[in-house]
Structures are given as C-alpha cells and as structure tokens.
C-alpha cells in the first residue's frame, strides 16, 4: 500500500531531515509512528500524504509511483487517504456536520445523498447532539472527534493521523484509539503519529515505526 525506497528529504540546502527510509505499510495494517518531538513524524506523514516531494528515493502510494503522478491523479489519490491534522484544521464558519461532510461535498456529491451517512458517523463518534455546533464552541475532544470523522467519512484505504490524541485526557484518548482500531478492522490501513508510550502499550498488537536521527526503525507488534 505504501512503500518507501531509499527516501531522503532536505529543505533547501540544509541537511537531510530524513534519510535512507526503507519501509512498507501493508493494507489493513495498524501502526504507530513515534519518536521524540521534532524527529520528523509530521514530515513522514506529509511524505505519505504526498504534500512533500522527497529529494531522493521513491515513494509508492496505493499502487502509484509518486514521481509519475500528475495533479489530477493526486486529487484522486487523496480521496482514498484520510488525514487527521495535529491542529484539527476544522473550518470555523461551518457546523460540525458540514465539516465532516466536507470531503463528500468536495467530490461534488449532493447533500441529500450523503446526509444519512454523515449523521450516522457523527453519532458513531459521539457527536450526534453537536451536529449544528461550530468548531469554536466545541471542546478539544469534540474537535478531535470531528476531525477524525471528517477523515473517516470517505472510508479511506489509508488513514494518516498526526497526534490525534494529543489534546485529550487519557480516557478519551483510549476511546478515540478504539475508533481507529475499529476502522482498521473494517479494512483501512492506519498510521498514527504519537509520542504517548503509555497509549501505544495499551495497543500492543500495533506495529511501531520509530523515527530518530532521520531514520526509521521498525518494531513489529505482538500478535493478539
């Protein structure tokens, strides 16, 4: 599903922030991307989202060589990838319902065609009674869940989440993680960037990609 071959990235003339990355992410897999702050977790996620081009090496995403992709191909590919940003990136002037429905609206689908789907997902993430609320009045946890729901609404094949539990208490973090696990069981490959070791330990089956000194070390999860 995702394959990195000798990937390196530098910003401008600076040193390589990541180098010689060689790893794969299998379909329907579940992994944490971890490492200290500033190690390059977000950079790695941006490379997977194809919002950054590597300065060397090859990235294969969902069966495509990223170098050969044209702008239109990128758009089509992003519709198969869900992303949860660290800072949520919800649009403040839209309601929670509209924020979650945004990817479907952007695809040009009629509102009547996806209304039930969005309401169902909002109820699933526990925001059934906050559909008309706008992000500024949502709590941190509610914003997080809305951002996750927006990423899930297209039933992505690959889900990238950047510190999705960073702003919530441990109890809510576990509940949010269970959402991702359930999504993984439904067939989505999940990559979660986090530095919460305690949380990772609670989901020991997950593979860990540890970023440090610009390189990635992989630890396979414990089979349940």
């Amino acid at each position: 599903m995702v394959r990195f071959e000798n990937v390196g990235l530098r910003y401008g003339m600076g040193p390589e922030v990541v180098r010689d990355l060689n790893f794969s992410i299998a379909p329907q897999s579940f992994q944490f991307l971890t490492g200290p702050s500033g190690a390059g977790k977000t950079t790695l996620l941006r490379l997977m989202l194809l919002s950054l081009r590597p300065t060397r090496g090859t990235i294969h995403i969902l069966g495509h060589d990223a170098r050969a992709l044209k702008k239109d191909d990128l758009t089509a590919l992003r519709r198969r990838i869900g992303v949860v940003f660290q800072d949520f990136r919800l649009l403040d002037h839209l309601t929670t319902y509209e924020n979650v429905a945004l990817p479907l609206r952007a695809m040009g689908r009629a509102e009547s065609g996806y209304r039930a789907e969005v309401i169902e997902l909002l109820r699933w993430v526990g925001l059934g009674d906050r559909m008309n609320a706008s992000p500024p009045v949502l709590s941190g946890g509610e914003k997080q869940r809305a951002a996750i729901a927006r990423a899930l609404i297209v039933r992505p094949e690959l889900l990238l989440a950047d510190e999705p539990t960073g702003n919530v208490d441990p109890g809510l973090a576990r509940r949010l993680l269970r959402l991702f696990v359930e999504l993984h069981r439904l067939g989505t490959a999940v990559v979660i960037a986090t530095h919460d070791l305690q949380l990772m330990d609670q989901f020991g089956f997950a593979r860990r990609l540890v970023v440090g000194d610009g390189e990635v070390t992989i630890f396979d999860g414990v089979s349940s």
Partner: protein, 316 residues
C-alpha cells in the same frame, strides 16, 4: 460501523433543524468587506471617468456639428451700395439653395452689438464700414450642398463672400479629438489602477482564506472545484461593490444633470455647458456605466480564480 441509517430512520426534527449548505468561503469577513469597499470606490471612480469621457465626446461632437452646419455670408459695405437690399437678395438666394435649413440675417444694430465686447458701448459706429452678416444653417454637416449655394449667391450678389468655417472646424475637431483621447486615456489608466487595486485587495482576501484552500485541497477537492468556489464567492463580492459604486455614479450623473439645468444660466454655466453639454448622459452612457460594473464583477471573479489557481499550483 453500526447498521447504516437511512433518511427515513433519522429523527425528522433532527433533519429539519440541521444547518447545511453554508458557503465554503465565509461571507461577511473583514477582508471580504474591505474588498467590497475598495471595489465600490474604484467602480465609482471608473464610472466617473467613463461618464466624463462620454460627456466630452458627445459635447465635442456637438461643437463640430454646429460649426460645420453654420455658414456665414459676409457683405462688405462699398460706396453706393444699398446694403439692406443686398442683404435681402442674399437671404433670398440662400433660402432657395438646396440643403439650407434656415437663414438669419444680422441687422445693422445686431452687427454693431457683436463689436461691443471689443469696442465698448456708447460709441457711434455708423461711420465705420461694418460688414453685414447672414448665418445660413445647413441641414447636414458634410458640405455637399455648398457649391450650389455658392453658385446661387455669386449670381445674385457677386460681392458677397462665403465663409464655411472649415479651417476653424478642423482645428476645433483636432482639439475635441485630443480631449476625447485624453479622457479615454484617463479611463484606461483608471481601469488599470482599478484592476491593480482590486488585484491586491483580492489577493489579501484570498490569503485570509488560505486555510480553507489547504483544507479543501487535502480532503480531496480538485483544483477546479476550489477555484470555482472562490470565483463564485469573489464574483458575488465584486457584484456588491460594483453595484454600490455603479449606482452611486448613476446617482451622481443624474444629480449633476438636474443641477446643471439650474446653473446653466449662471455665470460660467454656459461655458461648462459648452464643454460638457447639458451634463446629461444619454441612455447609452448609463448603459456604459452598467457595463463598467459588469466588467468589474467579472474581473474580480477572474482575478480570484487566477490567484487561487496559482496558489494551488504551488501546493502538491
């Protein structure tokens, strides 16, 4: 996930109150309102320039037309001539000529009055050989009927001279063309300034919405979709600004034409009327202002689309 929920199973109350279909770009933002103000001011100024150019062009056309239609017959007094009789003959001959609309002979008193601005009042001008003037107003300004009039006149009153003002009219025409060209150049400059100002204001407003562009981009919206959303939004803002500016300009010209009717007989009023006509725009002039407003609306939409497309081009 759980069992799918159909529209029918959703609580009707929940569906009824569901807020949806909000515009993707927020309306009423500070940057958006500032853009409307900029567009309104620039549209107003562009409309004033366009209207001014149209007024001057029409007035200059009137000057030329009046000058070219009027022909002057001059009769120099010579010893032994009965000037009144010669004037009557010349008037009769000119009236019979083809293409003549009306003929007006200046009486001796009227001719003397024409000299008052230069010689002053209260003088006895009867001893001066003041020529008598007959103004012939032609139906058209082409001068095609002039040879016929000249032939008739030379047969009836050989000593009469005919002045068709062509040389002066050419100079007036050149001046009028220069004034119109200047007004047109000012209008073009105004349009360029307006496009630049709107471009900057639009760029600022788009920058204020950069977050929206990026979110849409990363949730899978195509560049065409994002550009179209922004174009529609900014075209609406452009329309609001153009409507305010255009209506203000129309109100200005309407008010000015009403006022000019009042002051036309005041000191300096006639000179202003000569330059700008009655300060009244023709219906086509008002149509021109509407077109300026429409062009501003389209321009704003086009600029926003271009700016957003350029920004998206830089995003992977």
């Amino acid at each position: 996930m759980n069992e799918p929920v159909s529209d029918e199973t959703l609580a009707p109350a929940a569906q009824a109150v569901l807020k949806r279909d909000m515009p993707l770009i927020p309306s009423g933002s500070i940057a958006g309102n500032a853009l409307v103000v900029v567009i309104a001011i620039m549209t107003f100024l562009a409309c004033l320039t366009a209207g001014g150019a149209l007024l001057v062009a029409r007035a200059s056309e009137n000057w030329r037309s009046e000058v070219l239609r009027d022909i002057t017959i001059q009769l120099m007094p010579r010893p032994g001539d009965d000037l009144d009789s010669l004037v009557a003959k010349a008037v009769s001959a000119a009236s019979q000529a083809p293409g003549v609309d009306r003929v007006h002979a200046y009486s001796a008193v009227e001719s003397e009055k024409l000299l008052e601005p230069w010689l002053g009042t209260g003088l006895d001008l009867s001893l001066l050989p003041i020529p008598r003037l007959i103004v012939v107003h032609m139906r058209d300004q082409t001068g095609g009927e002039l040879p016929g009039l000249r032939a008739l006149l030379s047969r009836a009153v050989p000593q009469a001279s005919l002045e068709d003002h062509r040389v002066w009219a050419t100079r007036i025409g050149t001046m009028a063309n220069a004034v119109v060209a200047l007004a047109a150049a000012l209008f073009v400059l105004m349009i360029v300034a307006m496009a630049t100002a709107i471009g900057f204001a639009t760029r600022g407003a788009v920058a204020a919405n950069r977050e929206i562009i990026e979110v849409l981009h990363f949730v899978g919206a195509s560049d065409a979709f994002i550009a179209r959303e922004f174009e529609t939004h900014f075209r609406r803002l452009g329309f609001r600004g153009a409507l305010i500016g255009g209506l203000s300009a129309i109100a200005f010209f309407f008010g000015a034409s009403t006022l000019s009717a009042w002051w036309s007989h005041s000191t300096g009023g006639e000179e202003i009327a000569a330059l700008f006509g009655a300060f009244a725009l023709a219906p086509t002039g008002y149509l021109g202002l509407v077109l300026v407003g429409a062009a501003v609306t389209m321009l704003t939409g086009y600029l926003s689309r271009t700016i957003v497309s350029r920004y998206l081009h830089g995003l992977l």
